[in-house]
Structures are given as C-alpha cells and as structure tokens.
C-alpha cells in the first residue's frame, strides 16, 4: 500500500496517453476543485425544460398514481382487470419489476465495491438512487393492491388491542420485512457515502440549501477518525447489504414459489428472479446513465463510453445467465411432466397472449446477444439506451408471463380466465414510473449525483506504468 502519488502529473503527453486519458476517467484527472465545481454546477443548473418535466411528471403522479389510487380506494379494486382466477395482475407485475430495478444500486455499488471494480466509481450514487426510488415505487404496490388498504397495518407486528398478529409463516410478511429492511438499508447506504459530498455542498451553498446540507452532513470535517468510521460503516454495509439484496428478491420469488400454483412451484425461482432482477437493474442503470449524460451539465466528463462498455459486458453475461435459468426452469418443468405445468408452458408459447412470451425472449435474449458482443455498439450510449430499454421491457414481459398468464391457466380448465389489464391499473403503473422519474429529477438537483471523493480517490489510485514499450494503466490499492 505504498503511497504512489505522482500519478499523471508528470507524465509525458504523448498520443497514446492522451488517448488513454480520453478513454478512462480515472486516467483523466482534474483538480478536485474543478470537479466539485462541475458537480455543483450540474446540480444547480435548471432549465425551463427541466421545470416543465418536473411539472408534467408531478401532474402525472398526482393524477395517474394518487388520483386513480384514491378513486380505487373509494370504489373498489374491481376497477382493475383482476378476476378469478387471476387475482394478481399489473400491480404485482410492476411491484416485482421495481424491486428488480432496485437491485441495480446494490449490485453496482456493493458488489462492484467489494470486488473493487474501478469503473463503478462515477455512477455508484446514480445506481443507489435508483435502488431507493425503485424501492419506494415498488413498496407502494403491496399497499396499492390490497383490497382494503386502510387496514394495511394489520400486517405490522406490534402489540395491539385487536389481538391480531401477523402470520410470520406468510411470504407476504417476509416480503414486508424484507422490503422494509432493504428500503431502510439501501437508503442508509445511499446516505453514508454522500456525507463527504454533502459537506462539500454545504461549503458551497448559502441559505436554506446550506442549512439542509449542514444538517445532513453531520458536521463532517474530513478527519481521519471520520473517514475511518465512514469506511468501516460502508464496508459493513457493502458486505451486509448483498445478502439482504439476495434475500429480497428471493423472498419476492417465494411469494410465487411457495404456492401450489402450477408453474410457480419451482425451486429455481429464487436465483432465477435474482438474475432477472440484476439484469433489469443493470439495464436500468445504463438507461439512466444515458439520460444523465445527455441532460446534466458536465456529465460527459464523468460518464464515458468506457462505462457503457463495461456495463454492456455485464449485461451480456447476465442475459446469458438469465437465459440459462429460463431454460433450466423450462426444461425441468417440462421434464417433470405434470400435466398442468406442461399445459401452461405450452400456452405461454401458443396461447392468446403468446406475444408477451415472444417479446420477453426477443428483448431479453435476442437483442442483447445480437448486439452486446460488439464493442462499438456497447460504446455507443444511444444504442445502449435503446438496448437496455428493450431489456427492461422484456423483463416486464417476463413477470407478466409468470404472474397473470400463469394464474389464468391452472389445473382446472373449466376455471381458466384471461386477464385484461384495465386502464386504471396501467395508469397507476405509469404513475409510479412517473414518480420514479420525478424523484430522480428532483434528487439530481438536490444532491451531488457524482461521488466526487470516490472519483478523486480512484484517480489518485490510478497511474500509467511503463511496461516494456507501452504505458499501461495501473491501480494502486490505497486502502
């Protein structure tokens, strides 16, 4: 852990190096003050277009989400398209979707941190924000989908006069606990690395903002003890939040897998869901990075094609892993020979809603496999934007296949039913999407989206080393 600090300052500015610097953020250091300014500028710049988006999204949230939810609470959940035997529809699909998206932050920030993947540095916070807001959107659905939302507190374990205690054997209670744990811990995990940057923002703002940052920065000065404590806490979190993340989506998958529903009762659902979640989460990170890069000032410096490239490789791997699990699930269910399961699998591919199934395969397998092997496509942010968008559409289709399409064709053909989502539940799903975007938009102007200290730390750790006739990037372990 030698302190090699003469990283690029004294290096010759030859062609090769400038190319490398253009390529790698870590090899293209700028003074901290400049980076601070860039981030603060991005954070404080608002255009009329921005406010139009905020206003529009707020309106959508107010009408499509809260308005419709209020209407549904007043009239009954019958305004949705659910029916016997498809008692779960778009709400649960969207719920699983958001919980899946929320795996991105933890994956990027915790797993890549633990494995010291250096390319993570500029966008850990962007990913963590997705986790928190994705969870906030997803966690609403267990409430939204209740028949009697006003009694949701029956699920909360606290001593009460009703003599009523939640059934700890129910996967929904596990869900409740797991999502609560995950929401709280991912919010904390977002907050802890933010403290130094909040202190930076505190020093550069005045008025109300200053007071808020000052409060949130907890008197951060940057002493050794503070850094030590923070790193220790971040380390605890990085290691502890990974099993929590796995448990959350496993438990979500158990909502389905513990049942006797044909097509759900499968031991592979846990890892299958996790892989799917990470796939959709990482894809969503790419989507968001593209948007940030093209809308936020100065972000082109921080978010570079190298990041799209790296995430693209991950996506390809996860897409393959997802396909592997999909095939596994399919093969074993088919091989098992249970009539009902075989029938469901056949109907997925041939039934009236087969297009959903094909959409899933095209978006999750065909598109990534055909494109992501190509470095040039991976390095093209716009292309990646569309590819990742498609992956998330595909993942939504996957959940749609698993939930309403499987429920509709159970063991008794007499009671099959086709589920038609109503305009109201689609509106609520759109509403949470708008809420996610709105929160993200607001957060982008409220907190520094780039963890500057982490970037600088990385830049300090990187250097070019002359090996033979070439200069190669080298990373110094500072911790």
């Amino acid at each position: 852990m030698a302190a090699e600090t003469s990283y690029l300052t004294g290096a010759r500015a030859d062609l090769e190096q400038s190319e490398l610097a253009e390529e790698h953020l870590m090899l293209d250091p700028r003074p901290r003050e400049e980076m601070n300014q860039m981030v603060m500028e991005a954070m404080t710049t608002t255009t009329p277009v921005y406010w139009a988006w905020v206003g529009g999204l707020a309106l959508i949230v107010a009408v499509c989400l809260f308005g419709v939810w209020g209407y549904m609470t007043a009239t009954g959940i019958g305004i949705t398209g659910i029916r016997r035997p498809v008692f779960w529809g778009v709400f649960i699909v969207t719920f699983v979707f958001w919980i899946g998206i929320s795996h991105a932050g933890t994956f990027v920030s915790a797993i890549l941190r633990v494995f010291k993947a250096e390319f993570r540095r500029p966008f850990t916070r962007a990913a963590e924000l997705m986790t928190t807001f994705g969870l906030a959107g997803g966690a609403m659905y267990p409430l939204i989908h209740l028949g009697r939302v006003w009694t949701f507190y029956y699920m909360v374990p606290y001593p009460n006069a009703r003599w009523l205690w939640p059934n700890m054997r129910s996967p929904l209670v596990w869900d409740f606990l797991a999502i609560t744990t995950y929401l709280l811990s991912s919010t904390i995990y977002l907050y802890l690395p933010l403290i130094p940057d909040l202190a930076m923002a505190r020093d550069r703002t005045t008025g109300l903002r200053h007071r808020i940052y000052r409060l949130l920065a907890l008197g951060w000065r940057g002493t050794e003890a503070e850094w030590h404590r923070l790193r220790k806490a971040i380390n605890i979190f990085a290691f502890a939040i990974i099993p929590v993340m796995f448990s959350v989506h496993t438990i979500v998958s158990w909502d389905f897998a513990v049942g006797v529903v044909a097509g759900w009762h499968s031991t592979i659902f846990g890892p299958y869901f996790i892989i799917g979640a990470i796939l959709s989460g990482v894809a969503a990170v790419v989507t968001i990075l593209f948007v940030l890069r093209s809308t936020m000032r100065n972000f082109k410096y921080f978010i570079r094609p190298e990041h799209f490239d790296a995430l693209g490789k991950l996506l390809l791997v996860f897409s393959m892993a997802w396909a592997y699990f999909f095939f596994n699930e399919y093969l074993l269910s088919w091989y098992g020979g249970e009539e009902a399961v075989q029938r469901i699998l056949t109907l997925h591919a041939t039934g009236p809603s087969a297009w959903v199934w094909y959409l899933m395969l095209i978006c999750n397998v065909a598109i990534p496999w055909l494109t992501l092997w190509n470095r040039r496509i991976r390095r093209n942010p716009l292309a990646m934007f569309f590819i990742t968008l498609a992956i998330n559409v595909g993942m939504y289709a996957e959940r749609y296949t698993i939930i309403p399409l499987t429920l509709g064709h159970q063991r008794m053909p007499f009671d099959w039913g086709i589920y038609n989502p109503s305009i109201f539940e689609i509106s609520i799903a759109i509403g949470t999407m708008a809420m996610f975007c709105l929160l993200y938009l607001l957060a982008s102007r409220a907190i520094p989206l780039i963890p500057v200290w982490e970037v600088q730390e990385g830049q300090m750790a990187h250097s070019l080393k002359k090996v033979g006739k070439a200069h190669v990037p080298s990373v110094t372990e500072l911790e």
């Binding site: 901290r32 020093d203 550069r204 000052r214 050794e224 220790k232 806490a233 502890a240 929590v244």
Partner: protein, 178 residues
C-alpha cells in the same frame, strides 16, 4: 477540551508526501499525536500519513444491533404464537424454516440500522484533537490541524512553510452541526 490556539497547515491535494513529512516534523517537535488531526477531502489511511490508528466502535455497535435484531425476530415470531396459537395449513406453530427468514431479515435490519446509529452517535460525540475546519478541504486540500505548546512555535512554522504548507494561525472553531 483543547483551549490552546489551533493552527492549520494546508497542503495541496497532491502534496501527500509533504503532509506526511509535516506530521513527523510536528511530532519530532514534541507535539503529541493527540494534538494533531488531519482533515482531507479524500480518505487517506493512517498508514499513508504515518499516524496512529484511529479507532471506531461502529463495528461493535453494529454487532450489538444484529443481536438485538435477532432477539427481536425470535420474540415476534415465537412469543405471540405461544400466547395465541393458530393452526394454518397443518404447519407447526413454530416452524423453523419460516422463522429463519424472519430472523435473517431482522438481524440484518438490526445490524444495518445500528451501524448508521453508530456513525451518527460517534460523529456527534465530542472528540479529542484540535477542532477546526477550512472549506478548502473539500477542494481536495489536506489540512493538518494542530495545537502546540507555546515553547515550540516559531521553528515548526518555518519548517512547515518550507514544505509548501499554507499556514493559518489561531483558527476560529466553527460550529458545523447542527
């Protein structure tokens, strides 16, 4: 609490070697380590600066929280069904597999929340060492805060300045929180 005037030696962000040197100079002049504190915009480990290890109880607090979460999980799964047993699906009243899920989640919740609490409590707890702050720290500068007995003053300043430090004397302690 330290009542002596606080001095700040500010180094540029790439002057880590110089900052480490400055600390050893101060130490050689009889300034005890507890009268020195380093503030920086990036984490610089104690080894880099040749400083004694600082300590933190965050891990311990986290562990206590985990135990508390574990016990709470046992309590909420076990106690109510003892008082009020209900049969569902011919499952045992206290099934271990399902309990494990709850125990895991609440243990982790306890661990993670208490880690945050640990950070919070330790941060707002009064600390030793010279207090003081300069906003330029956030620009990546490395600051060495120190107080020293009056007899060693002048010499040290010169040596620090020679290393490239920007010196500020009698730094006013600023209240940063709340």
């Amino acid at each position: 609490m330290i009542t002596e005037p606080i001095h700040l030696a500010l180094f540029e962000e790439d002057q880590i070697n110089e900052a480490a040197e400055a600390i050893s100079i101060l130490r050689s002049q009889g300034v005890p380590d507890r009268n020195i504190s380093v503030i920086s915009g990036v984490p610089l480990s104690e080894h880099i600066l040749g400083r004694p290890m600082s300590w933190s109880r965050v891990g311990l607090i986290g562990l206590v929280g985990a135990v508390a979460g574990f016990l709470a999980a046992l309590a909420i799964t076990y106690l109510p069904v003892l008082i009020y047993p209900l049969n569902v699906g011919r499952m045992p009243v206290f099934p271990i597999p399902t309990t494990l899920v709850v125990v895991f989640e609440l243990t982790m919740l306890g661990l993670l929340i208490s880690t945050l609490l640990g950070v919070f409590v330790e941060t707002i707890t009064p600390s030793y060492g010279p207090h003081g702050y300069d906003p330029r720290i956030a620009h990546g500068k490395i600051g060495i805060l120190f107080t020293c007995p009056p007899e060693v003053d002048c010499e040290s300043y010169d040596q620090l300045v020679a290393l490239g430090a920007e010196l500020t004397h009698n730094l006013q302690e600023r209240k940063l929180w709340p």
